[in-house]
């Protein structure tokens, strides 16, 4: 069962703001999703190695050869703001 506090924590970590009404809606949707996923726990996976996708042999990996990068103009094209060839972000306070 997911609590309202957990929802708040996740929304904070995800930088998504909800008002109280939205939080309640999200909570019930979240429950429904988790219940669906929980059905997977009914499967017996005893002794089965976790597999996310088939592995690749190390020999098949990309060779270390430089290829041209993208033009900086293109890299910055969709940035809301840029300055001196760099992306511009709000000041970060540590």
């Amino acid at each position: 069962m997911i609590t309202l506090d957990e929802i708040k924590k996740i929304s904070k970590l995800s930088r998504i703001e909800f008002d109280d009404q939205e939080l309640k809606e999200i909570q019930s949707e979240f429950r429904a999703i988790l219940n669906t996923i929980d059905r997977l726990n009914e499967l017996d996976t005893e002794g089965v190695e976790p597999t996310y996708r088939p592995p690749l042999d190390v020999e098949e990996l990309r060779e270390d050869i430089v290829k041209p990068s993208l033009d900086r103009e293109k890299i910055l094209q969709n940035a809301p703001e840029h300055e001196d060839g760099a992306f511009k972000a709000p000041t970060i306070v540590e």
């Binding site: 924590k9 904070k12 970590l13 930088r15 996310y52 996708r53 088939p54 592995p55 690749l56 042999d57 190390v58 020999e59 990996l61 990309r62 060779e63 270390d64 050869i65 430089v66 290829k67 990068s69 993208l70 900086r72 890299i75 910055l76 703001e81 300055e83 001196d84 060839g85 760099a86 992306f87 511009k88 972000a89 709000p90 000041t91 970060i92 306070v93 540590e94």
Partner: protein, 474 residues
Amino acid sequence: MIYLAVIGLEVHTELKTNTKIFCSCKNEFNLEPNINCCPVCVGMPGALPALNKKAVEYAIKAGLALNCEINTLTRWERKNYFYPDLPKAYQVSQAEAPVCLGGYMEIETQNGPKKIRINHIHLEEDAGKLIHSEYGGSLVDYNRGGVPLIEIVTEPDLSSADETLVFLENLRALLKYIGVSDCRMEQGSLRCDVNVSLRKEGEPLGIRTEMKNLASFKAVHRAITYEINRQTEILNSGGEIIQETRRWDDQKGRSYSMRAKEDAQDYRYFPETDLPPVKISSEFVRQVKETLPLLPKERAQKYVEEYNLPQYDAQILTSEITIADFFDECVALFDNPKMISNWIMTDVMRKIKEHQTEDIVLPINAKNFTKMLKLHQDNVINQPAAKTLFEHMWHQDSKTDPEQLIQKLNLVQISDEGELENILKEIIQNNPAAADDVRGGNKKAIAFFVGQVMKATKGKANPKTVNELIQKLL
């Protein structure tokens, strides 16, 4: 109350591959912002990463040099946090199945050799760089974003700031030795986080704190000393240590709690399904092992056995690969390892210390250096002249053949008996009292005459010939 310090490290080193870890953009330092970037390393939607084989190879190489076990199947996870230097809002890293497991490095301590255990080594991508804009806001440069990193995580086996420094220096030398990283702290290619906790003898580990923003080995040393004192004071006054991350301020010489970041500590690792796990065969590991050079300890042993050098000398010569390679080059050109070693240990090392830089740069080459040594060995130049020539070669002219240089600098030793005899005769004539002293067996008076001849010849006289002449004439 006396507490024992318990210190563990997380050392990040950038690998010197040609390309980044997940794309074919160039891996290089210090350029115009955002020119080595592509959709993968700036995190554009839909871009897919392709793992660099060399990065895996280098991680394995580091693991082998640190006596680790290499995982046969290595996997990738996303580490989630929001920060502008991280374009995807997650860093691709490894948590469950890193490339290397276990391992250790042995260091010399006051109480003899000590094994510092390595917990694991994992691969990950570096983040971009933030620069403050003079017009406000932060400027983000992703050239460094996606540069391959290894993170070497030790067990908390270190017990003092001094010991930590020795470990780091050894580790840095080793990584440079095997050629996987430049380990330049000033360029950020080697970074280090430190965990410190205190405990009483025989008691379990205390609460630890983590220190960040350590930009030099000196800062690491200072920060550990500061933290040990801080925790000791808290415990002695009956307080409790809070588990936290602290930021070191090297200018102020103190650390600050980074409370603001505590909420964000939950990294919510989950599998990176854009990257398949990688199978590492024992055959591949064997091939990587073959590319490992002789490591410092083995190389020092070789010097002791083959060249009869003292253990201490061999250790100094092999502590930095640049020096060891220079020594080997010299020995190949000039068969007098003892003489080469003596000169490197004294004059070359002194010069290196004078211009202390992070990377050792030798302005002289082995060819001319050994030519100089040979000229000295063959008595063409004497000791003071050899030192003068060395200074000149180091600071002014390392290109010209030393044989030409000694002519130009007028350093050739005078061994001609006739010439030296004439000079000596004149000195004897001008110093009859001293001459009588020599005849009376006064050793000091002999030194006086040697000194006078040296002065007259501007230090170029062959001291052996001069001594023989004094015996003959007096």
